[in-house]
């Protein structure tokens, strides 16, 4: 049932939407829409929306998976797919109704504004996005087609790199120290505190520090570290690691701002739609779709729902509504907008939730915390005075990169045998062992020498290792200590 959207008509609507966008003070990249059918949409989804992307079987898998769930009606297609680029590219499904398309366009402007203004995206160089991905694709294709490399070789490096791509420095706002600064920091760390009674004290032995240790400070960028420190790697292998790392870095802000970003776009599509003065038929259809998108999903967290609720609450608290819940079909006042824009610029999901997910909101949302007990998942905390803090913290731990374990390289020459020693910064959550095993195997493949990972399992320190003989879990070790050094 193709409705064949009329481009001239869409342009008219776009003009009206854009009028509102600038009236509300949203600040967007130029917008570019592409109309597509559902096959193209599935393809774009599989490749994270990129017009060109390097080939790897995992995208084929992701396509099949999307198609299976779509064909079986388990999940529909998203109304929109938008990428962080300048001009901001978004795809519109040509089979969608007019009301849904207008809603989508309004929603896209919300994302567009967020991409351009949130600080997390500052490093992503939106104007280069499309060409960067295209260059990556071209380079990797050339390796695949080169007679001296070939698909199998490229695939095994990519498999391994994908497994580690999210093990990266997750806070770009904290500058990484240069090697020189690291040296002085290391010296600073061992320097004894100033002793006013030095003259009467017995002379202390001069503290020493091994400045040849690699890395001097624990290193979170696994792929980059391997690229720079494994001399066995060839140039094309290094390049593959760079490509995978750069893509992970590009997607990092989107992972880190899922709730804010979706909430923000939903907030503005609602405001824009309500201000357009739609004919009743379109207005009703818009409300149906809107409520479908921002509905709570029992037992889960719907980022559209949670995000919108928090933005609304910020409007209530900082706007001129006198603390009363604002009428959502009205436009936020000047004062509210000032605060909203400030938050959209300076926060990420973790800080957003910490600052603005109030006890009352949690109560209203009926949030609860659950944990596996035996074969079941059991509620441990509900939204009341005893539960608020725990629930909020658990939620923060689970959003964005909080769901990825922090693992850093501590020593690249452990035991003077080029063994790579990693440490999992345990926060109460154990690693999934069989996933850890397979990931270590990938790590071993890239590093070429034995790998040791220090972690905690069932409250006991444990060393997981992977070398020529395969995977091993060494018996418990002293927790919290310098370990086997």
């Amino acid at each position: 049932m193709s409705t064949d959207l009329n481009i001239a008509e869409l342009k008219e609507w776009d003009d009206r939407i854009k009028e509102k966008v600038s009236a509300f003070g949203l600040d967007c990249y130029p917008q570019e829409y592409e109309l597509c059918d559902h096959f193209q949409m599935l393809s774009y989804m599989a490749y994270s929306g990129m017009p060109s992307h390097y080939p790897h079987w995992s995208y084929g898998k992701s396509y099949e998976k999307l198609k299976t769930t779509y064909d079986h009606g388990i999940s529909g297609l998203p109304y929109e797919m938008v990428i962080n680029s300048s001009p901001c590219i978004a795809y519109l499904m040509r089979d969608n109704s007019l009301a849904l398309t207008i809603l989508t366009m309004a929603h896209v402007y919300g994302h567009n504004d967020f991409f351009k203004n949130n600080f997390n995206f500052a490093h992503t160089r939106a104007e280069m996005t499309v060409s960067t991905f295209k260059l990556h694709a071209e380079r990797i294709r050339s390796y695949v087609e080169s007679p001296s490399i070939g698909r199998t070789e490229v695939e095994s490096v990519l498999d391994a790199a994908h497994a580690l791509s999210l093990q990266l420095n997750r806070n770009r706002a904290l500058r990484k120290r240069s090697p020189k600064e690291q040296v002085s920091a290391a010296i600073e760390r061992v320097r004894p505190v100033k002793d006013s009674f030095q003259s009467i004290h017995k002379k202390q032995q001069e503290p020493t520090v091994d400045l040849n240790k690699i890395p001097l400070e624990p290193e979170a960028d696994l792929l980059l570290f391997i690229r720079d420190n494994n001399r066995q790697l060839t140039d094309w292998q290094r390049d593959l690691l760079t490509v995978v790392h750069e893509e992970a870095e590009y997607f990092l802000p989107q992972i880190e701002t899922k709730i804010m970003n979706e909430g923000w776009a939903s907030f503005w599509h609602r405001t824009i739609m309500n201000s357009l003065g739609l004919p009743q038929k379109l207005q009703l259809e818009f409300l149906v779709h809107h409520n479908q998108v921002v509905r709570p999903i029992t037992g889960e967290i719907n980022p559209y729902h949670l995000g919108l609720k928090i933005w609304d609450d910020i409007w209530r608290r900082f706007g001129n509504t006198g603390g009363k819940p604002p009428r959502t079909d009205e436009t936020p006042d000047e004062k509210a907008r000032e605060k909203l824009f400030e938050v959209r610029e300076t926060d990420r999901d973790a800080s957003f939730l910490r600052r603005f997910l109030t006890d009352e909101l949690m109560q209203g949302l009926g949030l609860f915390r659950y944990q596996a007990r035996g074969k079941d998942e059991v509620v441990t905390h509900v939204a009341n005075d005893d539960g608020y803090d725990t629930i909020r913290q658990t939620l923060i731990d689970n959003v964005g990169m909080g769901a990825v374990p922090v693992i850093k390289i501590e020593d690249a020459d452990f035991g003077r045998s080029r063994t790579l020693y990693l440490k999992h910064y345990h926060d109460g959550r154990d690693l999934e062992l069989d996933f850890a095993e397979k990931t270590l195997e990938h790590l071993f493949f890239l590093w070429g020498r034995p790998i040791v990972l220090e972690t905690i399992m069932n409250d006991r320190g444990i060393l997981l290792s992977f070398d020529e003989d395969g995977f091993d879990t060494k018996k418990h070790i002293q927790v919290n200590e310098g370990l086997l050094r």
Binding site: W57, L367, V382
Partner: protein, 399 residues
Amino acid sequence: MNSSDTIFRPYSSSESLRSDRSAGDRQRHREKVLESIRDNISDLIAEEAIIGQSSDRIVKIPIRSIREYRFIYGKNSPGVGTGDGDTAEGQVVGRAKGREPGPGPAGNQPGIDYYETDVTLDELINIMFEDLALPNLEQKRLRQVISERTFKRRGYRQVGVHAHLDKKRSARARVRRKMASKRAGIERADDRFPFHQDDLKYRHRVPDMKPSSNAVVICIMDTSGSMDTMKKYLARSFFFLLHRFVCTRYQNVDLVFIAHHTQAREVTEEEFFHKGESGGTMISSGYNKALEVIRDRYHPDHWNIYAFHCSDGDNFESDNDATLRAAGQLCEVCNLFGYGEIKPYTLHYESSLIEIFENIEASNFQAVMIKRKEDVWPSFKALLKRERLPEATQGETVA
């Protein structure tokens, strides 16, 4: 901002055809799925749905998805969900499940561990029968059977599909061209000397028919009253595999079906797989019928003969000597005589032929025990493993 800022790219259906860019990645993923099916084939075979279906049927196989491993948190990692307001502490909200890797939205969203894939039964059977062959296939006079339609190389060409690219030759051609151009004094501005279309060499392949030897497979099944539904199911599963195997791998092998209780008769394929009978058991009758068929139609000098028999081993006692004798004769004329004993229950009072058959010393006799449906495939494989007898492969490839 003015209206000229926004760009609308209209939909074009040709674009949709051209931009099926996931095709290559889907293809590669599918290869990996088939690899995974290959590794778990015996579990799949035990599924009743597969046995007894026609070959062009598409079966939906639930497969474990090809996992992409990352460091992820395990089961003791807590989560947060949205409640309906009545959620109470201690309430069970779900089952603990394995999680999919990767940071998704907050909350507990267990990924789909299994998904279905469409595979035709033929594809599946091809995978299954990859390493199997009729053992000891000998060259007999009057060759007639064509086995294994394959391809063989015939030289190299300048054009071809990418998969047939011969990297070594292509590289060599490039080096040769480089030397030649150096000798000719052609200087290049940079050091690069890229591949040229003329350097690429593709392997040329032509279809190759291998004439092989005459062969007949004789299927003998016990259809007596003691063969209940379960036993018949196991026996038929075994013969179904055998039947599919012979039809898939050999272009022209004769199949003979013999059903017996106290008497034996030759039946059609349809009857063999679908008809039940009853009565006592005289296994020698089946063997003698097979010997009779061989005498009449398949002279051992001209034919490779394979006989397979499935029974619960519950033979009429006085018939055992005759059975042993007939089995001995079968071994003399057959390349392989396989006996599968179906014993789904461990009842001690049932007699077993396997013990009696231990007296057979012929090297081409093999007995297997099938207790559960999971055993069907391993025992089938045990009988037909290509590498079971090394001289078997030799005999086949001489052709």
